[in-house]
Symmetry: C2
Subunit: 342 residues, 2 copies
DNA sequence: ACTTTTATTGCAATCGTTTGCGTTGACGAT
DNA sequence: ATCGTCAACGCAAACGATTGCAATAAAAGT
């Protein structure tokens, strides 16, 4: 804030009227003469007056700011969500303050603390991989502090959440592989702390079961970091030393899928002929690589939009949290590309 | 902000002392007895007291918040910069409020307005492609409002900026292609409104000139949106109808480079044998595609860090803006991969 | 000429915190 | 008995804007 910014008092002094009148004139309150309004607006213009939102916040106990807690910004899915959040928030006159936790629990808690100090009107949260205990959220929910969780959602009472149908996405992906004639399908599982990982695994298992295909536990491998390096190593190990040699890989995220693809290539295994591969998230690069990667696309932008709409509605009391009993679940779409088509 | 949050007054009432004493006790001011300090802190803990940063902002005329204006969030480079910004800001106790302009000039101006209303302490700006007139920034600079521009920097007096050595990056990329034996090198140019586009083109031209290689103006093609679709179309047109058939393409960004690569493939032209390709920015997918894409990497995280450090130093008067006369220029690195090696 | 209405504006409190200055009482020194 | 010193704390203004409740004067009604 620059000193010397004109305030309502400056306008009042200039016109020899009270600051109450100025305030009302600027807001076109009834009971202020047109003449005064005109003058006030004129002087406001002249002095380049800009209302002080901080003062307003203090007075109204509302900051018109929402806080976004996110694991990392440099991530296609999350940055897409942010984009949706920002869009809705700014169109409804709210600011967005952002904090990334880098998957750290401690950082998550401290971010929440400083945001609370800053009197934000509500939270949009996707928690960190380290977070296994949700007291810091429960406390806020108990005070009926508005929070909407997205993507990574906790299983605690009264939590409002917006998520993707991970189960359905994984089910579709696996079924697609089956329909292509693959039968020994490996699954690279995400961090078990996240419900999305468990849901995807469940979709994978159910699809196999419903198609009467045998489940090989040794083909289900944890791949918690979700980097392409990890995907590479895990796949390499699987192909070299695994008890059962897979003919397809369904990775819980695209980075891991690419790692798997690179591992196959490095071992002279052909994709999709020898091994079919499907990823999850539909990062931009999916259509750019060779062979292009089949992936489950998540409506990131829409998640951001929906979650923000709900949060703002709650803040503005247009939406009763108690009326929402189940998570909002958005559909996924399977984008079939070359990596999984024989 | 939830009503019912304990304030300093609540603590004061509980202990029958004045709020001044509470304030001072909490801050360990001298002149307050240890006994009182102990009690105050105890009650603060009990009431779950959290200082109201808004009130503090009003009092101090400082919000401890910086505003980031960015063209788009879903962009590898920019999201990486944000990450660097967030890191430094939060470690120094500042909040980050974010606004994306979606490359719109109007949006840029209105974002700045609302941020000013919110009394932010300073700006970090990368302006939109539509922005060709910089009065809205000049006015602020004249009031010595702290602003640091990054990546896309304006040519106006007193502007502090942090950028990448685009010239050098383009020069290195072009020289590399030349060293590989390519001679008819096409350049996909970025939006001419941005200095970074012009600098990259200059580096390209100078490299050719210094190596005594002919410049074909018809091989220099504008590719303003920088999408892979645009890169595809432009390249296809060039290869089909161009007066001169290129043997290499240096794209001003990676997306366009991928588009070019796909266009080559669709026409049966081999990369890198028939045509070498180099991109700019080093998006994550560069090493994941086949052939992997040679690219100029920009230190996005470092740009964010540096710009934020400078901004906060200016805000805290540790840095005199007048002492910075030239832009801070960070080095690029050419990452040679398969797409440009014969 | 009186009261009543109406239009226009001002006063002062409020939001939560900080801070310069004043107050109070205890204590020792003269 | 008087004074100065010191520790410990309270008063009140300030930051900028909003708002319920007067207040004032002019216009209207009787």
């Amino acid at each position: 804030m620059k000193i010397g910014q004109a305030t309502i008092k400056d306008i009042a002094r200039e016109l020899n009227i009270s600051s109450s009148t100025v305030s009302r004139a600027l807001k076109d309150y009834p009971g202020i003469s047109d003449e005064t309004k005109r003058k006030v607006k004129e002087v406001a213009e002249k002095l380049n007056y800009r209302p002080n939102a901080i003062a307003l916040s203090l007075r109204k106990s509302r900051s018109f700011t929402i806080g976004v807690i996110i694991p990392e910004v440099v991530h296609f899915f999350f940055s897409t969500v942010i984009s949706g959040i920002e869009e809705v928030a700014s169109s409804r006159g709210y600011n967005v303050i952002l904090s990334q936790t880098n998957e750290s629990f401690a950082r998550e808690k401290s971010s929440i603390d400083t945001m609370l100090s800053n009197q934000i009107d509500g939270f949009l949260v996707s928690f960190s991989k380290e977070t296994t205990e949700f007291d810091h959220f429960s406390k806020l929910l108990d005070q009926s502090y508005p929070i909407v969780f997205f993507d990574r959602v906790p299983n605690i009472p009264n939590a409002i959440s917006v998520m993707v149908d991970d189960y359905q996405g994984a089910y579709k992906a696996t079924s697609h592989l089956i329909s292509q004639g693959y039968t020994k399908i490996s699954h690279l599982v995400g961090p078990p702390t996240l419900a999305i990982s468990r849901e995807r695994e469940r979709g994978y298992r159910d699809s196999l079961a419903n198609h009467g295909i045998q489940i090989y536990p040794e083909l289900i491998i944890e791949c918690a970091y979700g980097t392409s390096d990890e995907g590479f190593k895990v796949t390499e190990a699987l192909l070299k030393n695994g008890k059962t040699f897979p003919d397809a890989i369904f990775a819980n995220n695209d980075m891991a899928a690419v790692g798997a693809m690179l591992a196959c290539r490095s071992m002279g295994i052909k994709v999709p002929d020898d091994i079919g591969i499907v990823g999850f998230s539909n990062w931009q690069f999916c259509s750019m690589i060779e062979p292009s990667l089949t992936s489950v696309s998540q409506p990131g932008f829409k998640i951001g939009e929906t979650a923000t709409q709900m949060l703002l509605d709650m803040i503005e009391k247009k939406l009763d949290p108690d009326s929402i009993t189940a998570p909002i679940v958005l559909e996924t779409e399977l984008l079939v590309r070359k990596s999984s088509v024989k």
